[in-house]
């Protein structure tokens, strides 16, 4: 493995690829810094620019966006008091108060260094655990893979919010999208007489439409309903390096614990940066000798928040690369990116394309280093960019979405797909339907059908799914995750239900 890693490192450190990682990190930080834009959106917008690149260059650029995006939220969180991404909400709790006390540079420095260490820890875990998980999953046959996909979908649907039923509906809709067009027997399905539908719906315009389009429209909606905050950026940000080193030295345990929490949460399907953020912040507060200081601008709060949300990046790659099951929404999109570049994530990838695996590891590590340098050197510019009005940003990004969808196959029909799924995504959001299970369904639908059919072709017996131990366990876990979510939803509903007025 080491020689492949070394070979990949040489490829990734070529000036051209290194330049792409730098561009990716910069765009990722900008994407994360702009409130409401998110890492996922940055990945979707940048992706079309990789169409003409070779897989390693394209994936390196995307990983740069990924690495930068997870740390970008700290900029607007500290400077404006607005979390750039949902995964940096708890950064605001202590980062903004510290900035208000006149120490924005200290808050940013702590956040950026924590983010870097969190990502490095997660890559170390990814490098050590990833191949082990892949080698275990090499023994998975079509029954186990089918059950694993069903489990991942139910888990994500259950964790996507209080609406379990809606999450399951979204996941099923996503799977249904992948059944449009010719199947592997060359029979067309749901084409309704349109030739364009015979080749199926492309994953990218569907994902951009459902997620990005609806998110952009919501940004405009929120922006219009709230008055402009008209925040000013403090131009005199200086980073007190010695102070930050002292702060970090006193937070070694917090840093390690939060990074490991982030990695673990990232590896679990359906969770992601936001959950990691809150869990590690809560743990840091519980373990702290001064829990009352949390929320007033204390370094441990920023360390816990930023190290955990960046550690999600490496953690989320574990199930994606080793099992072919993405851990969260950005990773589902990343998996789509890999598939569109002709790379099928899963255990076989470690055997078939170890150089690419090495390139992913290397890009993450290099991306983390570049992220620190860019953040510390350019932070005041990022803060300014975070103030770009949504009214300007939204139309421009819509154009990028449209052009990206067209450029995939030079096909105008894909733009109509984008538009139709944009409307669908927006309506689903308005109906309270979570979009993550839908995107995951779109990404995993092809694999689910392929593995299900392979299982049935090998043995025409549905009971085989229940008689094989691993497959049966995974299906039992899928049922369990649905039941637990239903119980949790009921408990939440009972707790939040308004008490009826006393009679008489």
């Amino acid at each position: 493995m080491f020689e492949f890693f070394a070979e990949a490192f040489v490829l990734v450190t070529s000036p051209a690829t290194l330049g792409l990682i730098v561009i990716g990190v910069l765009l990722g930080i900008i994407g994360g810094a702009i409130p409401g834009f998110t890492v996922t959106m940055a990945i979707l917008v940048v992706f079309p620019f990789t169409f003409s690149m070779d897989p390693i260059a394209g994936v390196s650029l995307m990983i740069g966006v990924f690495a930068g995006g997870y740390s970008g939220g700290i900029v607007s969180g500290v400077m404006l008091g607005i979390p750039g991404t949902p995964s940096s909400i708890t950064t605001v709790y202590d980062g903004y108060p510290m900035a208000q006390k006149g120490e924005p540079g200290r808050a940013l420095g702590i956040g950026v260094i924590s983010s870097f260490i969190g990502m490095v820890v997660s890559v170390v875990v990814l490098v050590t655990v990833g191949p082990a998980v892949a080698s275990v999953s090499m023994s998975f046959r079509p029954w186990e893979l089918t059950a694993l996909i069903v489990f991942a979908l139910t888990l994500v649907a259950g964790l996507s919010g209080a609406a379990m039923l809606k999450g399951l509906i979204a996941a099923t809709l996503g799977l249904l999208v992948t059944t449009v067009g010719f199947d592997r027997s060359n029979n067309s399905r749901f084409d309704f007489g349109f030739n364009q539908l015979e080749s199926g719906l492309e994953m990218l315009p569907v994902m951009i439409g459902v997620f990005a389009f609806s998110q952009l429209m919501r940004n405009i909606e929120v922006h219009k309903s709230a008055e402009s905050t008209d925040k000013r950026v403090n131009q005199s940000v200086s980073i007190p390096y010695l102070q930050i080193l002292r702060d970090m030295a006193s937070q070694k345990l917090n840093l390690l614990r939060s990074s490991l929490i982030g990695t673990l949460v990232g590896a679990l399907p359906g969770t992601g940066g936001t959950v990691a953020n809150f869990v590690s912040y809560d743990q840091a507060k519980k373990f702290s000798k001064t829990p009352e200081a949390f929320g007033t601008g204390t370094p441990p709060g920023i360390v816990a928040s930023e190290s955990s949300n960046s550690a999600v990046a490496g953690g989320a790659f574990i199930p994606t690369l080793a099992l072919g099951i993405p851990g969260d929404l950005p990773m589902a999109i990343m998996m789509g990116v890999l598939i569109l570049h002709g790379i099928n994530p899963g255990p076989l990838l470690f055997d078939q394309n170890p150089v690419l695996i090495g390139a992913i590891y290397s890009s993450l590590l290099i991306g983390a280093v570049i992220m620190v340098i860019c953040q510390l050197a350019l932070v005041r510019w990022f803060a300014k960019i975070a103030l770009i009005p949504q009214e300007i940003l939204v139309p421009v990004v819509l154009v990028l979405c449209a052009v990206g969808s067209f450029a995939l196959n030079n096909n105008l029909f894909d733009m109509w797909v984008l538009f139709a799924f944009g409307i669908l995504g927006y309506l689903l959001v308005k109906a309270g339907v979570p979009l993550t299970p839908l995107v995951l369904g779109v990404v995993l639908g092809g694999s689910l059908e392929r593995e299900l059919f392979r299982a049935l072709e090998i043995e025409d017996n549905w009971m085989a799914f229940l008689t094989r131990p691993i497959s049966a366990t995974l299906l039992a876990l899928a049922v369990l995750s649905v039941v637990i979510s239903l119980i949790q939803n009921r408990l939440i509903a009972e707790r939040t239900r308004p008490k009826s007025a006393p009679e008489g």
Binding site: I169, T179, F190, P395, M415
Partner: protein
């Protein structure tokens, strides 16, 4: 009374019904295939039907005052957010116009219209809108056409 969840459940069931009907046209399995191409979609449609029905039933079991004000809420939303509806319409026109007038004219036109709708509230901003629309559309064209070698219409 139509509530948000009921409207969603009915839409899901209607869509499921249409697709289930269409799935009957999918070719039957050949002699060597244990299952045909319709198997997967029909499994998914059955699941969707069950979930839609469950949501419909649930919507009758837990109805709140907010749920019953759904239609009024939709009308209110449309009135408050006409700019979003217009933006959707503008995007539809943009997609329609792209093959007819070409990328540059369609994109510059879309950006002008969308930025005018959302941003241009003063004379100075109108100038900014024109500059942004022309610069962005030309820049994207140059990057794709010359930088990435991808031809735009």
């Amino acid at each position: 009374m139509l509530t948000r969840d009921r409207a969603l459940a009915l839409s899901v069931l209607l869509g499921t019904g249409i697709l289930a009907f269409d799935s009957l046209n999918i070719r039957e399995p050949s002699s060597w295939q244990p299952y045909g191409s319709a198997l997967m979609p029909q499994i998914l449609l059955a699941v969707l039907g069950v979930l839609g029905t469950a949501l419909l039933v649930k919507s009758f079991m837990s109805e709140t005052a907010r749920d019953t004000a759904f239609l009024a809420e939709v009308v209110g939303f449309a009135r408050r957010n006409t700019h979003i509806l217009v933006l959707f319409a503008l995007f539809g026109i943009y997609v329609f116009a792209m093959p007819r007038v070409g990328y540059l004219v369609a994109t510059a036109g879309f950006l002008l219209a969308a930025l005018a709708l959302l941003y241009a509230r003063s004379g100075r901003r109108v100038l900014a809108v024109i500059v942004i629309a022309i610069t962005v559309s030309t820049l994207i064209y140059a990057i794709f056409q010359y930088g990435l070698g991808i031809r735009l219409p």
